[in-house]
Subunit: 225 residues, 4 copies
DNA sequence: AATGAATGAGACTTCATTCAT
DNA sequence: AATGAATGAAGTCTCATTCAT
């Protein structure tokens, strides 16, 4: 299992305080923070708006977090932690050529299930690539993206070992393209999920995975008309 | 040719003032603005930093622009205008099944040439998707993205007419995925262009287009192992 | 009793914050604000000068008030409220022809007593007519002036009922003239109160009321030499 | 004839430049300035708005006037000069007891005629008392008000000599009250002149003078019920 | 004689953060 | 444990004024 190496060490006392808070309060705070960071970016986010949305006092916020960055990092990492838990259980090394694309399909379905919950951490995670562009927010978001990148890389590398994934592009580029197509798909599904019934949605989800497979498949490599 | 319907009408006197400025000054200001908006987002951008980078006085900035939003919109639209000019001349309706993928390859090369200039407007354009997520910046960036979306859609629709592009996914999803893979590729190339010599780069550029083709190709549609 | 219909509703949290402040601080702030608004008008008033005079920080001011207008409105309304309390207790409907002018005299004396305190709210109130001329300040000052106008009108109307007040001029004009002569008198007394001893002042105060009576008296109506 | 001792000496070259301007331009500038000073006060007035309203360039304004204050003073004094011309020709020393109140009536009619023109200088003049309250504008407006005060005083003093005007109040107070009632009346007439036909208006104008007479008349002095 | 580009001080306002209670 | 009053730096924007052309 790939490890998420948080940068949020040494938060000090605040960390424990926040973790000992009862779950509802914690959720309210994290959700309010995530919403604000998502919509306004890191620099544009206002702690005033966050405490108002979370219905807590200013003192409380600074009791639980050292500063704005701490809140941001905590929010981001918590989102990542939950995604990790949710997507978690794929054993990449056990994949074979015949199970490889089915595993991808399975991942696509899991991710669809996750999306349907419409929770703050899924939405926030989709903003990571954008937040990374903000100089001040980049550091906080990088570990999460690094993790996703590494996981994707390991998956693709295994595919190349098995001869199922194309080799004509540098791995780092392949990773970026895969992540991008994945994120764009997730975003589209979040925006359009109400337009399809359960059955139509299931088909769509699989069709999307087919496209990813076609994009990555070693079978087409070098192929020319 | 698809039109870019600017929202930046009625800027009033300021527009003329800025347009009558000599080219170098204008470029300095636009580049400084673009850089700041790119790195900090709209809300996080500081006019103070911009005027410092552009080496102009506060009063001057407000002599050329009505307010922060005006500067942002002007910067964004100017970037879009230049991209439009650069990418311009593809006659989508004249494409045939046999020229379709070659045209895509040509586009890929044009876009590579553009990237190699490393100008502010290319970099800014790559930030549009992120800026769109910012509530206050969305309106300014939307026309540019709409234009890109429409252009992509027309290209893909023509491909479907010719039987070269897959039909098993909704057009809007196909458009999003195409744009995403495109943007991610551009971004990767900008970050790694120094790692390859001219010849290696040329091959890479074409290989990237191949991946896009494999992703879109109707030949794989429904195809199953 | 005529009601003062304040426009300063929905100030939100700020209102409570300011009202819970200890009296001295509140007075310092209000007095500083009143002084500045009086001397420079609404648009010309500088919050910087106000916070310096009141010896509070910029942040504090914005903790107690939403913005400049909120401070202005609060100051104006507080002034009105206090004047109302001070002038309060005249039962207009109980006046008779024989008590009418005595009541006016009593009002004159009360108003003299009020003036002698030389408090910020009396001085500010005398600036209301001028502040009304300022477009942006008009709305805040209007209720106070309306109240004064309505009160004056009721008093004069009662006098006309009793046959003591002239009827040869439109009521609204009569009201304006009465208020004007009143305000001018107050202003004169504030500027010259140190030039008279207690006894001389008492006589003057009454003589001024006589003039108002002569101006309004029905006995002269139509009278011609 | 009472002299208007302007404070606007030593304006330097600018004065001549402005005076040599053709009449229309001069009127536009003065009217625009008067309007702005009237509505926003001296400190709140914006030269930017004035040059926009007058349709002149910023450079021109500073070519004709030394600074904001110079424009203000010039505007104020020009207004005063015109009022003086208009009201001018009363020979106070020639008044007798039998012509005294008729002269007042004549003044009332003249002032009504003036008002009906609705020119900028009449409206501005009505703002003088308010502008005087603004610390920075006081000096400019004072000479004009002083002149009005002195003229009024001479008129009232002559009345006292003739035994037609009351003596039971200090002259300075009498002057203030007279001016106040006058100004309030003018203001009311400006606001309501459209509500009456020519004949009704004529009666009103005279009735207003009657009220002033009743207020000042020595016949009521000391008079008590 | 006239223009309008340029300036920097100062306007109002919001911010993240501290700290006495 | 928790509050919210207090702060001053920095935000966007307007101002009166100068000056090269």
């Amino acid at each position: 299992m790939v490890e998420l190496s948080g940068i949020n060490k040494g938060r000090g006392v605040a960390r424990n305080r926040f973790e000992n808070l009862d779950v509802e309060r914690r959720e309210e705070i994290l959700a309010a923070g995530a919403q604000e960071f998502m919509v306004r970016g890191y620099a544009g986010a206002s702690l005033n708006r966050i405490i108002e949305a979370a219905d807590i006092s200013k003192g409380q916020l600074y009791y639980y977090f050292n500063d704005k960055e701490d809140l941001f990092v905590t929010t981001v990492e918590e989102a990542m932690r939950r995604l990790l838990e949710a997507v978690g259980g794929l054993s990449i090394d056990d994949l074979t050529a015949s199970t490889y694309w089915d595993a991808l399909r399975e991942l696509g379905r899991q991710s669809a299930a996750l999306r349907s919950g419409d929770c703050w951490y899924v939405r926030l995670a989709l903003s990571f690539p954008r937040l990374r562009e903000e100089r001040e927010a980049a550091a906080a978001v990088r570990p999460a993206l690094e993790w996703a990148r590494r996981l994707t890389e390991r998956f693709l590398a295994r595919g190349q070992e098995l001869g199922t994934v194309r080799r004509d592009l540098p791995m780092s580029l392949l990773v970026e393209l895969t992540l991008a197509v994945d994120e764009a798909g997730d975003r589209w599904f979040m925006d359009h999920h109400h337009e399809y019934d359960e059955d139509g949605m299931r088909k769509l989800i699989d069709a999307r995975v087919d496209l990813t497979r076609d994009m990555l498949d070693a079978a087409h490599e070098g192929w020319d008309r």
